[in-house]
Subunit: 429 residues, 4 copies
Amino acid sequence: MESRFKIFSDPVHGFISVPKNVILDLIESAEVQRLRRIRQLGMGHMVFPGAEHSRFGHALGAMALMQDALATLVEKGTPVSPEEHTAALAAALLHDIGHGPFSHTLEHDLMPGVPHEAMSRALIMRLNEHAGGRLDLTLRIFDGTYERSFFHALVSGQLDVDRLDYLRRDSFYTGVVEGEVGVQRLIKTLRVEPTAGGADSHLVVESKGIYAVENFLLSRRLMYGQVYLHKTVLAGDAVLRAALHRVRAHLANHKADFADTCAPALLYFLTHTITLELLSRTAIQHAFCALDDADILTSLKRWMLHDDPVLADLSQRFINRRFPGITFLDAPPDEETRHAWLSRAAEWLVSEKLAPQSTAYHDAHYYVTFGHSRTARYDPRWGAIRIRERDGRVREFSKTSEYARVAAYPDAGISPYVVHPKTIGTTGG
Amino acid sequence: MESRFKIFSDPVHGFISVPKNVILDLIESAEVQRLRRIRQLGMGHMVFPGAEHSRFGHALGAMALMQDALATLVEKGTPVSPEEHTAALAAALLHDIGHGPFSHTLEHDLMPGVPHEAMSRALIMRLNEHAGGRLDLTLRIFDGTYERSFFHALVSGQLDVDRLDYLRRDSFYTGVVEGEVGVQRLIKTLRVEPTAGGADSHLVVESKGIYAVENFLLSRRLMYGQVYLHKTVLAGDAVLRAALHRVRAHLANHKADFADTCAPALLYFLTHTITLELLSRTAIQHAFCALDDADILTSLKRWMLHDDPVLADLSQRFINRRFPGITFLDAPPDEETRHAWLSRAAEWLVSEKLAPQSTAYHDAHYYVTFGHSRTARYDPRWGAIRIRERDGRVREFSKTSEYARVAAYPDAGISPYVVHPKTIGTTGG
Amino acid sequence: MESRFKIFSDPVHGFISVPKNVILDLIESAEVQRLRRIRQLGMGHMVFPGAEHSRFGHALGAMALMQDALATLVEKGTPVSPEEHTAALAAALLHDIGHGPFSHTLEHDLMPGVPHEAMSRALIMRLNEHAGGRLDLTLRIFDGTYERSFFHALVSGQLDVDRLDYLRRDSFYTGVVEGEVGVQRLIKTLRVEPTAGGADSHLVVESKGIYAVENFLLSRRLMYGQVYLHKTVLAGDAVLRAALHRVRAHLANHKADFADTCAPALLYFLTHTITLELLSRTAIQHAFCALDDADILTSLKRWMLHDDPVLADLSQRFINRRFPGITFLDAPPDEETRHAWLSRAAEWLVSEKLAPQSTAYHDAHYYVTFGHSRTARYDPRWGAIRIRERDGRVREFSKTSEYARVAAYPDAGISPYVVHPKTIGTTGG
Amino acid sequence: MESRFKIFSDPVHGFISVPKNVILDLIESAEVQRLRRIRQLGMGHMVFPGAEHSRFGHALGAMALMQDALATLVEKGTPVSPEEHTAALAAALLHDIGHGPFSHTLEHDLMPGVPHEAMSRALIMRLNEHAGGRLDLTLRIFDGTYERSFFHALVSGQLDVDRLDYLRRDSFYTGVVEGEVGVQRLIKTLRVEPTAGGADSHLVVESKGIYAVENFLLSRRLMYGQVYLHKTVLAGDAVLRAALHRVRAHLANHKADFADTCAPALLYFLTHTITLELLSRTAIQHAFCALDDADILTSLKRWMLHDDPVLADLSQRFINRRFPGITFLDAPPDEETRHAWLSRAAEWLVSEKLAPQSTAYHDAHYYVTFGHSRTARYDPRWGAIRIRERDGRVREFSKTSEYARVAAYPDAGISPYVVHPKTIGTTGG
């Protein structure tokens, strides 16, 4: 008998078994293969050189963890039908399919106002059409409209397979070993509990898993602080966005022709305004699926030679990793502070011959970026973690007797910062 | 040229290079070789089967991390003389040499009132005599009387190589991967700062290491909750202690002869009262060095066949891992609660024919143990962690601006519990 | 629903699920718990300090790999009944239960002529009686009399779960990372093929696993060369054996009384001759089960103070790791060579005041040990590895077309050596 | 004091310390940063999804291993001056800088007849000019003209840091754990021995490292068999090359205009013939440095829509991972066999409407690729591994007494294969 599984070797989870059914078909689709060309951490590998992994491995890994989670639940007496099993695996595999090039870095720049989840949903719809409706249940699980709500919680909840995989995976590839989550321990403490009325059922964590939950929340916090919001990452993000904004500005003003130097799919997004309502259009989906990290990189390499010195400079800074400085501010910058930074940058632009006096202050906006970072914390309002205590009662994590105070993990709060040319940093602190 | 190092293969840190000087001599001494026969986690391996590692590997590992820490400090401009280097390595190697069989489990039972640190000091004195005074500086570092106080902080401080090694090592061997501390990252952020007056210098952590510190504190907390204070560990500890108490009681009452069934070195400690003042005596040191886990195990195996049914029962429960139950209490038990548990246990002893009615309540004290566990937390009063902020100022960790609230890690507080025969647990909760 | 499994955290394989049936009962038996007190590598941890793991973890690990192997076979269409599943798990768990203290080191000294497999069988019989015959099928699998012979091959064959676990585990704990076997990859290539006649079925490896087989054979070879037959291990083994031989000689000559200083169970084996036929006797089984590493260690520590200087010296050499030298010989030593070594050792004994001139040559036999080591190699006569080639034909590994020459892995052959007092080594080469 | 090192977190080797001198300058050069955009394993990640790592991490890792190797040699008494140290680090860092997009896959297609080593040398020359001659010694080490020849051996020899890093790194990222080389163990056995005449000195391995050498050779063999020459990798390589050949053919015949759809730097190489003599030209170096994986990917995505159905088909097969089949042949294919495969492919092209009858046989050459793979083996003629035996004599590895036969590792020999459309494979075997 032929094996019913195709085996993938994954350095993070070991061997991953993919059922040779619609799941394998999905993996072989162009939409999922495209994830191989989108790095999981945007430009994170430019700070952590090992973290060059793509969203493809993450999609596979989330699916593998879904298999583990369902096996645990079934073992504890929660029935899962073959249809539900396949639908849940598909939901885990496809949950992030709507990520575009450089993942989160460009999420709000390519299609302002369109979160990647919305595009994921549009692409699952598209794949469902190709698959003749075999993803109907997947869509309901993804949307949270399926009555057995723990499936949705496993795909999109505080302890979903997305987070469990990406924290584990990013810790592995960055070498930030202390961010390692005890994924298998956590999964083994999962359980499904009927709700009070009995109409629904919740995903809960057995009380013995409370340390694993705590560890999970703190690993997430640590990974945000050490990796996702690393200051060099924030600085690199700013350069990449500035270059794209510059091109957009040129295009809006018809100041330059980018037909030759910009990948067509990228040009599409730089010249169209995409809204949530339009995502179901084939043309948009088509352009989106044609776009990946390579288009951004080849365009930037062309723009390094562009006539516009600002665009050329920004592009080479990104490609050759000559990132600007970043300074954290004590308070959100007021008008005066902003003006001071921009003025200093304008002077610098003139001295560097990147801009004439007349446009320097305007151009300085491409070199000075005000932003703020915010560490992830657990807030039950955004999705509760439920603990089943030894007495059988289910409590929201922050309400558990012994660990009531754990919910008070310090919120680093909003940390305002400014990204700026390195040489103006010392006087600008 | 012959290599100046002997290489040990350590699964935790990789290859460890031991200088072929007094350090190698110390490792080859009977006192240090004895650590091979003392398990690091007492009876922890009976809960985590992989954690069968001894204190020998920990001693080597702490020495290896001292090498790494000194290399970092030297690289940042803090001079370390060859004498200081060797003395610090010796101090790291020997810091825990005073641990007796089953490490912490029996620490307060073999020699009540004598902490292992005091015995470590006595044995370092002894080794220093053998070594002709070559450990003078080691002793000063160990004692904290050496003027360059950062050496002492590396041996016995909040971020000492002892803790860094044991957390990393115990996480490795237990398989509790989420307890992994980013040891190398933490070490790389260490630095020595002169104090205000300049008379001394402090060990500080650079500000970029603040996440590593946080991770360290939380890994420690997690390891306490998941491993060191695991409820089965507490239950197993109680059985072992009860068996020794029973023998002590027999010996005090001359009720039985243990010359045949008790290892001589163990008998010494069960029949003598050791105080801090006596530790310098050769006889005590000799008896102590002759004692290890094997003596406890062979004695227990003999006592499994003892005439006293209580001693026989306790011994076989430990050897064959038939541990009692443990119940956490909502409050420290008052007289009435204690009496209730003891009464139930007495009944059980009679029904099990382990004790006659007349002594059952008395004997129940060997089966019912009241205790409390306390999770480790950071408290600057017990040793400060100092952070060197970006502006050059040094602040105690709990006073750092951004992470002020981190110091408020929830203290699980004192958790009272009772260890008791399993069958009386359900009614006794 | 309560989970049907008890979970063990294993640093090698991760979480191990033990079914709460007869398998868990077996694990909780005194016979299996005893394996916690027997180190897997005898005195190997005195060379590789991390390798302090016991046979208990190995037994659990072999059982876990059996679960994996059966899951793979079932997935490929080979039916396995629940009874077979449990019996195979029990066989994997118990396969090495007959190992005595210090495992292979003392295997041929405690009970000359009795291989550990014979004692394993006797103890499985004993456990089967306690279990009311529930291990009947386990015994047949262990014996190789069960008609579905692949079960036996998984317990005791070239690619059995015993080897797969111990190579992986010993590589892990010694830190000899290059000995790592791709256990999961190998298991995933297993398959059951009907034999020509169809009466039986064989365990085969799919052709894509041929590299995994090669890697397995070479990792085994490397582990033998680097670990199991490490020269310091051979030297340490010789000291331990010599001490026991010395005690045996005293006992045979009634020269000394060991009742006080030798653990009773050990004394039993030093004063009785055990043969294969006697293994079914309860007294022998009882004494065997009472014996573990701790008895050897405590006895040696007592013997360090014995009146016989040779016994005292040998004992302290083992306890304090002052091992002798070892010299490899170009050829098996002839009488003259042996005599020369012994004479030099006799002189040394006199000079060290360990023996008077009159007995020195006789006593030298406890200090000079001639032996030979032999690296493990694949020989189809001792159990074939069968490869299922792409064309469906099954060939014995050494007959496979592409890898015919692989079977010719160099046999290091018999390497004769002599263990001897270090100081006489240089002239004795 | 500021640290003299910049620290990189590498998941393979842990923390890597880069000296803040010319080494850091080189890492920050555009030439080295470009390696971030070239995958180490060409399209290997399409078979091993975790293996998405670039040549940048490999360059860093090789440099880190050079640090380790030099530290070992210095510790054993071989002097290394600061200049030599820096030069050797630079040589390790830059040794592979001449790799183009998709590494080995396209090495012989972009610039036929120009091995990547020649381009590495040209780029080191270029960097040396920028660095004002600071790489003079690096060049001599790279070329093998420096009199202390062990430096060259460490950069380009049987046991060079290149191989040690890539085997370890590729094993890590592919998850092929059994390919793990004991890199640190091997490095610790290195030593420099003066040659007979004394004019030069050789890199040798101490005799205790002979198992490490054996493991190294066999890990390499295993990685070739399991990873580098994996049949899906060979099939994927063939598609990519065929697409580029198709474009080259169009360009040669002026059949199509690729100015719009082909990255300029790629077009340069598809329209110019580069020879070894021309490598010093700035234009070629400039074009080469502008080229990376992204250019190939964006071009292929454009060509998926090309008018030429063959080019469009080949391009989408690569991008969407619809790879052809591969069949190993019993013997190198003769004319008849080749013709048979091509004829079947031609029929298939017609039936798929990819080509008209008139050109089908010609076009079939883009779908049928004959090749052969050859496993790496140790051959002293291509660079000797020298073993320093216990008696001090140095022997070439294959001449060592005990392991003479190891040199006879089976050479899988030349394995001819044909890559072909999947559907014609079954009849074509």
